[in-house]
């Protein structure tokens, strides 16, 4: 109570509670503990989920004015825009229906060929549509929040796509909402395959680029990459289904002082403007982690094998990214499509 206030009760003279400094020390220590627990050990997930559930009504209330404003804007949109949008949508649908017709026959054909070659069948991944609630306001990361959560059966780690490509991955699940880390976030990496050459590599988020992008690291300066190459998910990680478009190579910088090229990519998905997304179930059949020594041996063995028989290799060689890229190169040189190698790689 400041001076000059009429209060009905006198301020307590003696019972002041712990001093401000001791409170500061206690709560700062608690905050530091929480931060370390959150960043390093991942043990505060239940606390986060609890607070999230309590916070949900307030979040819902805070979202309303923005949603109303956006909805109102769309409501008053003129007829011409709506009609032209509808025409566009119909054209897109016509284009897609042709491909969809082919897709059924191709899927049958593919299944038969796969059974002939005794490869594992590709399973369809079920998806769940979700609406994007808001861009997370945290300026230090690139995340989205969607309106589906634990109660809708969203699992952490699920890949998220929109109509153009991969948006990101579910990283936190709360009772009614989930957080998606975008592919352009610095902490997200995604295994990709170059559609043109079949070379596999890993794309890392690169938020420092203007508007956010991705970066292909550890690609040799003389590797066969071109601007405009499409990168799709390679499917070796057991999270993303194979073949989803991820990014397009935008700019390649080859420098004399480095053995690697700097390759910038633009995400295919509209990561910052997505309104509806599809959360896929994780492919889930993760290969068990091999023991390090055994993996190294197997890796060497795989390399020898690859040397002998061109594109042939096995899945144990997966452990090393550089090794992978190396093999992909070899596959190229041997003149065989690396897709064959990928299929080989997925057999158990």
């Amino acid at each position: 109570m400041p001076l000059g206030t009429l209060d009905r009760t006198a301020p307590p003279l003696f019972n002041q509670g712990p001093s401000a400094l001791s409170k500061l020390i206690f709560f700062s220590a608690l905050a530091l503990f929480l931060m370390v627990a959150d960043a390093r050990f991942n043990i505060v997930q239940p606390l986060r989920a609890g607070i999230g559930a309590v916070l949900y009504p307030i979040q819902w209330l805070a979202l309303k004015p923005v949603q109303l404003a956006m909805g109102g804007g769309r409501y008053l949109e003129d007829l011409q825009t709506a009609q032209s949008k509808e025409a566009d949508a119909r054209k897109a649908l016509a284009l897609q229906s042709e491909r969809a017709g082919q897709a059924d026959t191709l899927a049958q054909e593919n299944a038969r060929l796969r059974s002939l070659l005794e490869l594992r069948q590709i399973t369809q991944t079920p998806g769940r549509a979700a609406e994007v609630l808001y861009d997370a306001a945290d300026p230090y990361t690139r995340k989205l929040v969607i309106d589906q959560g634990l109660t809708n059966g969203i699992a952490p780690g699920s890949p998220v796509i929109d109509e153009h490509g991969v948006v990101g991955q579910v990283t936190q699940v709360q009772p009614f909402t989930s957080e998606i880390t975008l592919v352009i976030d610095r902490d997200l990496s995604i295994p990709v395959q170059n559609v043109r050459t079949g070379a596999r590599s890993v794309a890392f988020g690169d938020a420092s680029a203007h508007g956010g992008g991705l970066e292909l690291r550890f690609t040799a300066a003389n590797a066969d990459v071109q601007e405009g190459d499409l990168l799709t998910t390679s499917g070796v990680d057991g999270v993303y289904p194979a073949g989803l478009p991820v990014a397009k190579i935008d700019r390649i910088e080859r420098r004399a002082d480095s053995a690697f090229a700097r390759i910038h990519c633009v995400p295919m998905a509209h990561v910052t403007a997505a309104r509806y997304v599809l959360v896929l179930a994780p492919t889930a059949n993760l290969a068990p982690k091999p023991a390090p020594a055994a993996a190294a041996d197997a890796g060497v063995a795989a390399k020898k094998k690859a040397d002998k028989s061109g594109a042939k290799s096995d899945k144990t060689g997966k452990s090393d990214k550089a090794d992978k890229a190396d093999k992909a190169d070899k596959a190229d040189k041997a003149g065989k499509p690396a897709k064959a190698e990928k299929k080989e790689g997925r057999t158990p």
């Binding site: 109570m1 400041p2 001076l3 000059g4 206030t5 009429l6 209060d7 009905r8 301020p11 307590p12 401000a20 400094l21 409170k23 500061l24 709560f27 700062s28 608690l30 905050a31 530091l32 503990f33 929480l34 931060m35 627990a37 959150d38 960043a39 505060v44 606390l47 986060r48 607070i51 999230g52 916070l55 307030i58 979040q59 209330l61 805070a62 979202l63 004015p65 923005v66 609630l133 808001y134 861009d135 997370a136 306001a137 945290d138 300026p139 230090y140 990361t141 690139r142 995340k143 929040v145 936190q172 709360q174 957080e179 976030d185 610095r186 902490d187 938020a207 420092s208």
Partner: protein
């Protein structure tokens, strides 16, 4: 009763309901999704400093910590980042609360500026250590905006306490 300069009128006691409602409203405004601009002022921090200065017996470091956790969960930030910055805010606000109210409003705004600057700096340093993306130099504007809002917030949040104790025809409110 000691009268501070500039205060012609004794203030009514604060309504605890109004106090908490104002904090919740500040939280609500913070939660309105306006994008991830680093320069946007943190109204919740402002409200916490205001009530820590004006009602240190009711709002203190503990409440600041709890509101910080709420902000962390909402922003999907590192859990404890806002909690730490609000805790420091609460502490410094309690430290200066006896002195601050003797000054005119503009001078008060200048004196709370370093508090907000420190709290934003703490957040940036924590996230840089934690491996975040640098949010751009816009974050330097946020404390200035918050300090500039101080006089308005004072007028707004003290208004219920400035009502007449016994309303009559000349003073309906």
């Amino acid at each position: 009763m000691i009268m501070r300069p500039g205060h012609q009128q004794l203030l009514l006691p604060v309504n605890p309901l109004f106090l908490w409602a104002s904090l919740i409203v500040a939280l609500l405004i913070n939660m309105v999704p306006l994008g991830r601009a680093a320069w946007l002022p943190d109204l919740l921090a402002l409200a916490i400093v205001f009530w820590s200065v004006h009602q240190p017996a009711r709002i203190g470091i503990g409440a600041a910590f709890v509101f910080g956790l709420l902000m962390d969960v909402h922003q999907t930030a590192l859990l404890g980042q806002h909690a730490l910055s609000y805790t420091t805010l609460g502490f410094f606000a309690i430290m200066i609360h006896r002195r601050l109210l003797w000054y005119p409003l503009l001078s008060q705004a200048l004196q709370v500026l370093p508090l907000f600057a420190i709290s934003h700096l703490i957040e940036v340093v924590i996230r840089m250590i934690g491996g975040g993306i640098f949010p751009g130099w816009g974050f330097l504007i946020a404390p200035v905006v918050e300090a500039a809002l101080w006089p308005f917030v004072t007028l707004l949040l003290l208004a219920p306490q400035r009502r007449a104790p016994e309303p009559d025809a000349n003073r309906p409110l």
